[in-house]
Amino acid sequence: MAEQPPLGEVFLAACAEHAGRRAVVDADQEVTYGQLAERVNDRARTLVDLLGPDEYRIALHAANSADYLISYYALLIAGRLPFLVDSQFGATELQGIRDSSGVDTFLTDKPDHFPLPSGLVPVPGSRHVLARPTRPGPDVEPPEPRQTTATCRFTSGTTGAPKCLEFSHTAVHSAALNWTTGTGLGAGDRVLCLAAFTNGLAFNTSLLPVFLVGAELHVYRGLPTSSGIAKALRRSAATRLVAFPLAYRLLAEAPAPDLDTFSDLRLAVSAAAVLDPAVRESFESRYHVRIADYYGIAETGPCTFERDPEYAEGLGTALPGVSLRIFPREDGESEVRVRTASMATCYLNVPDGLEERLDTEGYYRTGDRGLIHQDRLYVTGRLSGPVNLAGRKVDPAEIEQVVLGIDGVRDTAVFADQDARGETVLHAVVCGSLARADVVNVCRTKLAPYKVPGRITFLPAIPRSSAGKVRLTELRDLVTETP
């Protein structure tokens, strides 16, 4: 794809084109495209005044809100590089981001609870506050981002520092264009987005695509309970719902749904985790709304979408600009590989890390097992890589490192397990004389809440091979036998 103009310009052009239309609805505030552009420009001027000339890498550590959108686009207009950081990240992750990705300044909406000791500067006209961590990072110079990079996002890392993905202006714009074209998103759509803007599900379906076509973005706040989602649908009269599979399960199981609430809804978009076919069937028959379960990867952007309403299985066909292949591996497994126009350029803080994940033809090795049938992609499991916890990727090695640092822990192994509902949970096996609460407490203070192991089992020793590798099958048997 040809080089695209800077994202800030693309966004302002969209605002000018749709100036009189409603752009964002958040709680009780409504903002038109014209007002949005004005607020973004004002915020950009404010940030230029507040930020020093060397403060280029700015992390957004905040929950979804209209304020979030304004700060994100203002950073682009102000010539800064926004890093979109999960608002649940704790001290360990933020310190890792600061030290390995060279982010010294954060925009946060929780100044009283910001995990790193920081100097705080209010941003006039915003709930966001500039946080400048007071403890200096290591002397090592962080790597320089590419000049073409427009936005950085994060995926799981193994050492406490989430891996930082650099996306060029062209890649972000391509992802948005491919999504709008491939899914038929139009100016008449009202999109209710339940996913955090930092997550690929929201970033790729909502953050820019909605504005490119002049549609409305409705912000959801709080935990996505069935009553909360129904209330938001009623208020927004949304035509599209963007949510994780969990939300569809809750709606499918809700005891007394108000069907009128769903009368404007035309499409429900799901991604990032496995959607149970029974949930899909129950939701669709109850609400008469199709769930389009698409496939996307943090490193590549959105890959597939089902355009044909007759198909209620699989993850759809390739979006424009996407090439899919199933690669037969030497171990007999079939791996999904993808090449897209919206791929990340590199990992800022893991030199060559992304390049090593590409095959000789530039296809990304996803670590997902799958097949293609009638041009549709089916993902049937994981072959390697991080654990997917309801749409968030977690590398067990990161958790193991934190648990090993707890006083009294001799050894540990963390792996993906299932709870009684069949949901994926992290299971930590710990060797040491301490209690569950000791492990939970330390993990809670150092890690994002969703990374805290749900299941914790204490064993005298962890079975390992002579090379030190955990013998997982044996370990699973042992924990099953442990009360």
Binding site: L223, T225, S227, D419, R436, V440, R444, P449, Y450, V452
Partner: protein, 86 residues
């Protein structure tokens, strides 16, 4: 009744709901070892969502975690909320 005036039966019902909401990953024993604190027992965000659904279905008690997060902190705070609002 306990010294905090919370019915033991209600407390036990809520402990059981927490256990089910977490897919039995956090047990009643884990909760009691953490003095009833949901966070300290290791309840994660999916567990909280499932619990809120269960509280609404069982008791008609709808807790807004944005406005009133303190009601979701412990078994006792949930019990107090249920008693006051159900």
């Amino acid at each position: 009744m306990t010294d905090e005036g919370i019915d033991t039966g209600l407390r036990e019902q809520i402990e059981k709901l927490v256990e089910v909401a977490t897919g039995r990953v956090v047990t009643v024993a884990d909760l009691r070892a953490a003095d009833g604190s949901l966070d300290m027992a290791g309840v994660n965000s999916i567990g909280y969502i499932n619990l809120m659904e269960a509280l609404a279905q069982r008791f008609g008690a709808v807790i807004d975690p944005e406005a009133d997060p303190q009601h979701l902190m412990s078994v006792d705070s949930i019990a107090r909320f249920v008693r006051a609002h159900a």
